[in-house]
Amino acid sequence: MSQYKEIVSNGLWKNNPALVQLLGLCPLLAVTGSVVNALGLGLATMLVLVGSNIAVSLIRNAVSDAVRLPAFVMIIAAFTTCTELLMQAFTFELYQILGIFIPLIVTNCAILGRADAFASKNSILPSAIDGLMMGMGFLCVLVAIGAIRESIGSGTLFNNMQLLFGESARGWSIQLFGEGYRGFLVAVLPPGAFLVAGMLIALKNSIDSHLQARAAANKVKLEKGSKRVRTTGQVA
């Protein structure tokens, strides 16, 4: 069980693809202008990641080392095509907004990275969970950046959610700062994405170092001159 715990914490926090590995930055920066765009691309990426991890794990003993990367890319491309067709079928407007960034999921290094670093060495269930958690970590960062950029840049939150959740979501849009808010344009422009991503990375690092400092403070300090207790047998 501890193995799965490790996978979950790696994907969501310790080895987060967007905040720690800094992989897949191109979609991260390009489509996070609003929550709905970020969520759409995040879900698509997660779907591809889970699918490709499972498939790569299935064939991991049949593919030789020399051709493994082309094989992985083919698998990822196949899943990306599936996702693209699904989006065309069910969320056509969002598909048009995200445009080139859906086919570009193929080139997202986070996905190829997981295929090569994890799925090609592990069995199916851990690989699937790893894909899900890495995708979830990526999705969370994407949505966080999208929310920050949308609220600062245009003063709304959850605008146009009907593109993803159907007509009932039309009323989800929240006007944050009143009608008079002019919008701080730099937040929705590319520099805003870099700024917000950088701030989130800084925030994560500061939380980590804070936790580390607290853990160090809580550790029992040995007094100088205290004697070591000799133990025998195993401690469970």
Binding site: R182, F184, L185, V186, L189, P191, L195
Partner: protein, 349 residues
């Protein structure tokens, strides 16, 4: 009798950042005076507000970074950033615009990178660009210079200024197209007709009413700084030379598609402010003499290119930021040869 041998450099008193920055502040005074004379008290309010915000942000972030607040505030660098930002912003800008610009200049462009000396980009220009791309309407509404005002109209008084800045009560009919705007928007008039027909030009002598004097005042301040040896002549002169050279090359004698004469480019917009107060920033520009020549010349070229073929009427800030990117690269290839070493970066490895 003992002669104490001292090797060069022979500094006769210790220099420090604070006194250099104070001299720079002093040198902006003629420009500030002329801007106030032509555009009213808006510039002074700008300076007051940017100084207030910049110093406050600087102090707050020094406190957060656990640095000595008084020591770093006394180097006057935040105040220089504040002055340059204030001079670049249009007078009568609303207070929230000024606060946002100061925030980006001091916090994002300076303190987050590690404070004075570690900032790769000129803080004032970062603040200006963030505002320019975020709030194009406010940033492009320059007031009309006093000679171009219609009969009976006057420069805004101090009450009207404060109302505009803090309450958003608009002052009637105070905005006007700058000479650079007019040249950019010019569709069909010959340059000579444009000069004769528009008050922004025919009230002026060489390059547009008001603006030519603003630029000459900053040129005067720059010459004072050169005399004080605050910086060397290389970067500003290279910048002005390349701007003038390109303007001369592309000047077609004044047709309707003309891009303006060298004199026009030298004396309009932020040319002189940029050449002597921004291109010469010791932190963000190239270091060696050759590097400064290249850096300045490329800034001048970019200013001309963006002014003539770009979307924005003036280009100083964009040109400087783009070249800030390139400054380390220029430095790498223009390392001066040290005595006993062969020249070129590769042989020094």
């Amino acid at each position: 009798m003992a002669f104490i041998k001292i090797t060069s450099p022979h500094a006769h008193k210790p220099g420090n950042t604070g006194s250099v920055m104070q001299t720079v502040l002093l040198a902006t005074l003629p420009g500030i005076a002329v801007l106030t004379a032509f555009f009213g008290p808006g510039t002074l309010v700008n300076i007051l507000l940017t100084s207030l915000f910049c110093l406050a942000f600087e102090a707050a972030f020094l406190a957060l970074r656990k640095k000595r607040i008084a020591f770093y505030l006394k180097d006057y660098s935040a105040l220089v950033t504040a002055f340059l930002l204030a001079l670049a912003l249009p007078p009568y800008a609303p207070w929230w615009l000024i606060a946002t610009g100061s925030l980006f200049a001091i916090v994002i462009a300076k303190q987050l990178y590690g404070g004075l000396g570690y900032n790769p980009f000129n803080p004032a220009m970062v603040g200006y660009i963030v505002l320019l791309i975020s709030f194009p309407l406010e940033m492009s509404s320059w007031p009309a210079a006093s000679p171009t005002l219609s009969d009976g109209a006057q420069l805004p008084g101090i009450i009207a200024t404060l109302q505009q800045v803090f309450l958003g009560v608009p002052i009637d009919g105070y905005t006007g197209a700058t000479p650079l705007d007019l040249l950019k928007q010019n569709q069909s008039q010959l340059i000579s007709d444009l000069y004769a027909n528009t008050s922004a030009f025919n009230q002026g002598r060489w390059a547009g009413a008001g603006w030519e004097w603003v630029n000459l005042a900053f040129l005067g301040g720059g010459i004072f700084l050169l005399y004080k040896k605050i910086f060397t002549w290389h970067a500003p002169i290279a910048m002005l030379a390349s701007l003038g050279l390109l303007a001369a090359l592309f000047y077609d004698g004044g047709s309707s598609t003309s891009s303006g004469s060298p004199l026009f480019h030298w004396l309009s917009g932020a040319t002189m402010l940029g050449a002597f107060f921004i291109v010469t920033d010791p932190v963000t520009s190239a270091v060696s003499v050759r590097g400064r020549l290249i850096y300045g010349a490329l800034v001048g070229a970019l200013v001309f290119i963006i002014r003539v073929w770009g979307n924005y009427p003036d280009a100083m800030a964009f040109a400087v930021l783009l070249m800030n990117f390139a400054a380390p690269f220029i430095d790498y290839y223009t390392k001066p040869r040290t005595y006993g070493h062969k020249s070129g970066p590769k042989s020094q490895a």
